[in-house]
């Protein structure tokens, strides 16, 4: 029974972290239409920042070399992870969100992602190069004195609380006038410009905010799995998150919650299929399954499981005082 609890709690943590990340990407791509192919970089910046701030100083003779090593107490590294990702978003946004066609923006973001992985792997002293960071202490694990299983459930609750906060934030943005401007920019940037909306500035705001939330998700993830390496954030990972947004329903916060469960969860499901073939072929079949799923899904449900709601605005019921009703109707 314990092993099942362990498995379920692990899946819940991953779902929670993925959901936080997918909400950030939905804000950028689903609501504002920014094709951010570098998304995983911001998650990774958060992860690395949290890791080097939680870890103690690197010993000069050890196998791990990194900057930082501040030994900071629990909430600080996670918060710093989000802030660092927001800071990195600013120059990337300034470079990529200038008035370029969206396919060029996408290319630039993809290239940013590639440069970042290359830099992290080749700089041995920054975050331990290609080997990555490991033995990152789990938050509060030595203060709480919980059994391993209880700690699992503690982490589920922690991720759930953070996720709830992030949900309130993204819902507040998407339903605010700013969210309306963002959707207008996504659907027709020229018209939005014509009515006086600054396309680049509005996109920049969600780019940085989405970056911060991505960093938050990365900080939570790295602290949970206690390790982070360039292999964890190669550019295809961004497309897994994008697939989750599209499968769930682009622009719909509750839809992408389901997407974050279905897309990475699909690999888990194939794990329970009877072992008819050797493990190597089974692993390959799992990836083929994910590929087929992505293609078939986009064919049958191009707008996702829960499509974006059409936003309707109530007609004014009371005409303004002193004006004929017909004028109000025309307005």
């Amino acid at each position: 029974m314990n092993s099942w609890q362990y498995y379920a709690s692990t899946l819940l943590v991953f779902w929670g972290v993925n959901t936080i990340a997918v909400w950030a990407l939905n804000l950028q791509f689903g609501v504002a239409g920014i094709v951010n192919f570098a998304f995983i970089v911001f998650q990774s910046v958060g992860a690395y920042t949290a890791a080097v701030l939680t870890l103690g100083p690197a010993s000069s003779s050890g196998y791990e070399h990194y900057v930082g090593g501040m030994n900071l107490p629990f909430p600080l590294p996670i918060i710093a992870g989000a802030l660092a990702a927001a800071l990195v978003s600013i120059p990337v946004g300034l470079l990529g969100l200038r008035r370029l066609r969206s396919d060029y923006q996408a290319m630039i973001m993809l290239i940013v992602s590639l440069i970042a992985t290359d830099l992290a792997s080749s700089q041995a002293d920054l975050v331990n190069g290609a080997a990555g960071l490991f033995n990152i202490p789990q938050p509060l694990s030595d203060q709480l004195n919980l059994s391993q299983l209880d700690y699992q459930w503690f982490y589920v609750v922690l991720v759930a609380i953070v996720a709830a906060g992030v949900y309130l934030l993204v819902r507040w943005i998407t339903s605010s006038p700013h969210g309306r401007v963002l959707r207008a920019i996504r659907d027709n940037p020229e018209t939005a410009t014509a009515i006086g909306k600054n396309v680049t500035a509005n996109r920049m705001v969600v780019f940085v905010l989405g970056g911060a939330i991505a960093g938050l998700s990365g900080a939570l993830l790295a602290s949970y799995i206690s390790a982070w390496a360039p292999g964890s954030w190669l550019y295809p990972e961004t497309f897994v998150y994008l697939a989750a947004v599209i499968v769930g329903g682009r622009g719909n916060n509750l839809g992408v919650l389901i997407g974050a469960l279905v897309v990475p969860g699909f690999g888990e499901v194939t794990r329970f299929f009877p072992q008819l073939v050797d493990p190597q072929t089974a692993a390959a079949m799992e990836w083929i399954g994910i590929g087929v799923f992505m293609v078939v899904f986009l064919w049958f449900w191009p707008r996702g499981i829960v499509p974006e709601r059409r936003h309707r605005f109530a007609k004014p019921t009371q005409p303004d005082v002193g004006q004929p009703a017909s004028t109000a109707a025309r307005v």
């Binding site: 996408a106 590639l114 190597q280 590929g291 293609v295 986009l298 064919w299």
Partner: protein
């Protein structure tokens, strides 16, 4: 000095391979606006088809031809039966990228199942060494450069001087207008994918030869440089991709010499970032417009 010259030699060889791959990639984007991220996986599949034939005793250049043929037919079918169908349903550009990643995963792991995920190598001889001034090449390397130059000239001749090339350029600029002018755009798109797919397959085999031993995931990293070369020159423009390949091929090898081999890709991408800041649509953006007007 001799180290510098030998770096230029290596740069020319990387540029030769890169040019074939990135011209193929950029043609697919230019004519059908599809960012085909399954490109590396088609290259891989072609490399393994060639591997099987090579193992059966065929000469490596016959196998390379077979790889090119495989790439051509496979890419054409992939576009006609998958990408074009999605595009007709109005799938967004990002949706198509996701589809191409799904297809890429399927191809890559089917290759793993058929051929195993382990390292394999072609049976081929490097040939004798040839001295050209201060540059030393093997005959194999010279053949690769020769094939690349011939391919580039052939692409140029087709695009610039044939009716097919003119129809392809017309379709790239404005497909619906081209159709209204009586160009059978579906057939042109099929032919464009055949040609670009052949370059994809050929590049797959030659790249596998150049890294000596390869696995089903070896060509993934190469796609990155292919995209970079295509973007430097202005994506969708074959001449831009040729120029981009030359610039990136030389720059990466020289950076490996001057700075540090670990940073050669970083230098390539920084170069790309700088180019995009100065000329957001690639080096050849202005030139290409003039060319389109003349055509």
């Amino acid at each position: 000095m001799s180290v510098l010259i030998s770096s230029i030699g290596f740069g020319l060889i990387s540029a030769a391979i890169l040019a074939i791959a990135s011209v193929g990639f950029t043609m697919q984007f230019g004519i059908t606006s599809i960012l085909n991220l399954a490109y590396a996986d088609v290259m891989t599949a072609a490399a393994f088809v060639a591997y099987s034939l090579n193992k059966a005793g065929l000469d490596i250049w016959v196998c390379a031809g077979a790889g090119a043929l495989f790439g051509a037919v496979f890419s054409m079918l992939l576009n006609r039966f998958v990408y074009a169908q999605f595009a007709r349903r109005g799938t967004s550009a990002v949706g198509l990228v996701i589809v191409s990643i799904g297809i890429g995963l399927i191809i890559q792991y089917v290759v793993v199942i058929i051929w195993s995920p382990n390292f394999v190598s072609y049976r081929l001889s490097q040939g004798s060494t040839v001295q050209l001034g201060s540059l030393v090449f093997t005959t194999l390397q010279l053949t690769v450069i020769g094939i690349s130059v011939v391919t580039m000239i052939a692409v140029h001749l087709v695009l610039a001087y044939t009716k097919l090339g003119r129809a392809m350029r017309a379709t790239a600029v404005n497909a619906s207008l081209a159709r209204d002018c009586g160009i059978a755009t579906n057939r042109i798109v099929d032919l464009a994918w055949l040609i670009s797919g052949a370059m994809c397959g050929l590049a797959g085999v030659i790249f596998a030869m150049s890294i000596i031993s390869f696995t089903p995931s070896s060509e993934q990293g190469f796609l990155v440089v292919v995209i970079a070369a295509a973007v430097v020159g202005g994506i969708g423009k074959p001449y831009g991709a040729m120029l981009g390949a030359l610039v990136l091929g030389l720059a990466t090898e020289l950076a490996a010499l001057v700075i540090n081999p670990a940073y050669k890709d970083v230098v390539a991408f920084l170069l790309l970032a700088i180019v995009l800041l100065i000329r957001p649509r690639g080096i050849l953006s202005g030139l290409a417009t003039r060319e389109e007007v003349v055509a």
